[in-house]
Symmetry: C2
Subunit: 512 residues, 2 copies
């Protein structure tokens, strides 16, 4: 029993007691009691974002780094709607998130107010669990249940909708200590089956979920099987001194030859790889149709422990030496490759790299294999606008690590409001904008889909360079120091400086 508090305060106390102490928010009238309760539960820190897609993406980034959920606090159906695209990405990354959404007071639901909408319908599009608090006394318990859903495993976007009157009324109930289900280790016979497949030859291990960590990679390497990583994982241990596991390529014409010799595919916390998009006369599944699929660990299980068991008794293997690279400091115009080399040379140990480079990603990721060991946070759900918010959330989660957002100009425009929150909290994020002034990926896809048209109408749908976006001004307008680099020398100097000084920083890398 507690002294009586508002439902909103019960919610916050429940979240805090379960370790959910970070809230990315854009509240409105129906969430005012939640905001008021932040004064009384100071262990929960609120981070205001100027657009809800920043909140949901930041919670994704926070979860990828910590493995634990942050909360988001959004305003009614439309506020939630603005967060859905990045919740979609978070769901595909299996990031745990506690999504709190305010609803009109229950007595107001019978009328058609301007902001009335079916919040649960919005939420179900991206959430594995959707709850509506059934009364003030239920707010705390529903929050505990929501935390349990978020934890998974695997992590889920779990939504809790709270009518305003349950938030402003009094209760003496807080939620319980949420129970965390442990990931279990697959049975011995599953492991034996995978071991047999490796012995027979032609086996590849596809690492996904939480297993793409140094221990998982190293264990997979020791098995002697070929090791490949899935694309849609929250983070990948990358850089030198890690077992070099190539990512399944993006385009089917590369992915299919890449996998064509695989006779058995050993799946670790992931599903068989599929192509991002469909194309005329191209299959959706990238592995050979007749290859055997062996599920070593499901999404719910502990893939790393399964790999340890699979490699049990195998000798350590030597990780091939990769030489560090040197930043390019000549006066040549920047290219995607030269930017990639200089970043690879200068990235500090243990950095967190958020990716949304789109058409530039494959080349840069290749160069980063020679960088100091770091964690790379890939695109997971393909909804544009992920990169800057994920970097923001990662920086809140790990204030002692340098965060680098590698961002395309087209994608960056989706959630550029993230820059403002980086500036407000002086977060240690360096943003590199790959400014090619086109939706370059669509130039490629236009040909690949067979549409293959050229002309003014097509160009008007792909060219984002008329007028030219000025990323230096956009960044400064949001309070983030910014510079522009057109040559290798300029980029290396600016990026090196950014790596040395803490705080937010943006570099617009002008590309052909």
């Amino acid at each position: 029993m507690l002294p009586r508090v508002t439902g909103a305060e019960s919610l916050l106390r429940t979240l805090a007691a379960n370790g959910v102490d970070t809230c990315f928010m854009n509240p409105g009238t129906s969430e005012m009691h939640f905001v008021a309760a932040l004064e009384r539960v100071p262990s929960v820190r609120g981070f205001l974002c100027l657009f809800e897609g920043v909140c949901s993406g930041a919670a994704d980034g926070y979860a990828r780094v910590t493995g634990n959920p942050a909360a988001t606090l959004l305003h009614l159906g439309p506020g939630l709607a603005n967060g859905l695209a990045n919740f979609h990405n978070a769901r595909k990354a299996r990031s745990p998130i506690v999504s709190i959404v305010g609803e009109h007071a229950t007595q107001h639901l019978k009328v058609e107010a301007p902001l009335t909408s079916d919040i649960a319908a919005f939420a179900r599009t991206v959430s594995d669990a959707v709850r509506v608090a059934s009364g003030t006394d239920d707010v705390g318990p529903a929050a505990s249940a929501t935390v349990e859903s978020a934890w998974g495993p695997p992590g889920q976007v779990a939504t809790l909708i709270i009518p305003a009157d349950y938030s402003w009324s009094q209760t003496d109930v807080v939620g319980w200590a949420a129970q965390r289900r442990q990931r279990c280790v697959p049975s011995g016979c599953t492991i034996d089956r995978a071991r047999r497949a490796i012995r027979e030859g032609g086996a590849a291990i596809l690492l996904g979920g939480t297993a793409v960590n140094p221990r998982g990679l190293s264990a997979a390497g020791r098995t002697g099987a070929r090791v490949v990583t899935a694309r849609n994982v929250g983070k990948i241990a990358w850089g030198r001194d890690r077992f070099p596991a190539a990512q399944v390529p993006y385009f089917p014409e590369s992915a299919m030859p890449f996998l064509q010799d695989v006779r058995s595919l050993i799946l670790v916390e992931t599903e068989p790889p599929v192509s991002f998009f469909a194309y005329p006369d191209t299959p959706s599944e990238m592995a050979p149709a007749d290859c055997e699929k062996i599920v070593l660990a499901t999404r719910e299980q502990d893939g790393t422990a399964a790999l340890d068991a699979l490699a049990d008794g195998m000798p350590p293997i030597a990780i091939p030496t990769v030489e560090p690279v040197t930043a390019l400091r000549d006066d040549a115009a920047l290219t995607v490759d030269s930017v990639g080399v200089s970043i690879a040379a200068l990235v500090p140990l243990n950095a967190l790299v958020a990716d949304e480079m789109v058409s530039s990603a494959a080349k840069v990721l290749g160069h980063l294999a020679a960088a100091a060991p770091h964690e790379f946070m890939p695109v997971t759900g393909g909804a544009i606008g992920q990169g800057l918010p994920v970097a923001l959330g990662a920086a809140v989660a790990a204030p002692d690590r340098k965060v680098i957002a590698l961002e395309a100009d087209g994608s960056g425009m989706y959630t550029l409001q993230a820059l403002w929150t980086m500036a407000r909290h002086r977060l240690d994020v360096t943003v590199v904008i790959f400014a090619n002034r086109r939706y370059r990926i669509l130039d490629i896809e236009m040909k690949r889909t067979g549409a293959n048209a050229i002309g003014d109408a097509v160009n008007n749908a792909i060219d984002i360079g008329r007028p030219r976006l000025d990323w230096v001004k956009l960044s400064e307008a949001c309070g983030v120091e910014a510079t522009r680099a057109a040559t290798n020398r300029e980029f290396a100097m600016q990026f090196e400086d950014a790596m040395k000084r803490p705080g937010p920083r943006l570099i617009e890398a002008v590309l052909p």
Copy 2:
């Protein structure tokens, strides 16, 4: 029978044949054939927007001005998700919109690709009609049916989801000429009933929907009843020389006394007024509980014709003379009132004014009653981020009229990408940013909801002035000329200049 064309081209031909010739778009891979078809159906003009919320809001603005639908073209579930908030507003405005969403090719739906989602579930949250094309031959017919749904009456957000293979395959079928259902005039007995209520005294006519036009206002005035306008209408005929019909106030403590003497409420294309939000101990319905509700015209009917019939035989009434006001040109610091006065003095005849001033709206609307006759496009659904996109769509719809977006700084940040499309097409939009550097409305709501907390945590959720957003840089970065005004003289000079010169322009009005 046609020469065989792609499904995408059949779609475009069907839209063009039904007068839907404007498309606000942000396409992706699954829409490449649609983009290619734009080359072959040049009567449909595509406007690229750098975020989907700009597309949906622009289509809303276009519909409010023309009464006809524009199309939007969005990419899969997450692209649609980013457009939902402004579709919500459009739905509440009863704006007709044809929302086209690309889906993965049907053979790809069996796998869980990164962008796989339940598009129809996203669409249903804001659409009155959701269709999925059932084959290539169905694309054109489904487009015709979607146009019919969009037309209503009342206007609807009608969604058509098209799998990519139906877009890229060939067909010789195009859609039919869509049939427009006419709004009908209410029966004589309904009109008699309203006439009796007016004769008995204490009647008020609440004008909504399409009836808030000069003819409807004037007819309502001639009936002798009190005339009041609903808040959630797509546009209001406003300014001098119009029958002065006050809007129902925003806050219940004003709206309830405003309506307390009403004994019968005559509803014209609208519902009884409700408060925007619920508060402890405040009812949701603003009219007295015992007042009689008379539906003179439903949302589907022709409210203007009903008012004409109601006023039949009544003499014309003199519209009270309102003197024009003069712009303020002193060196005093700007206030919301002084900005309102100067805008009212300088707005040109027949301007289109898009509102998203939030806490500043009531004062400015009051001053605009003395402006030259214009059309005011209010907030309808309360989802933030409406103002700039609605202004963009209005400018595309009416290139011969000056468009003015009156925008709060907090709301403006939601869809500032609209500025870029204004710049690309040199649209004649003047944006005024009411920069008070707070979510000022939340200062008010914090007290009104009874939460009433103060402290750093609360201030951090409401103060958007640390760091200060620089709207001049944001605007210039998107290619729109911009200035900042802190005094009455500066504002009047800048706004006057903007009214004289065509093309996009932004003024950051610095407010206390």
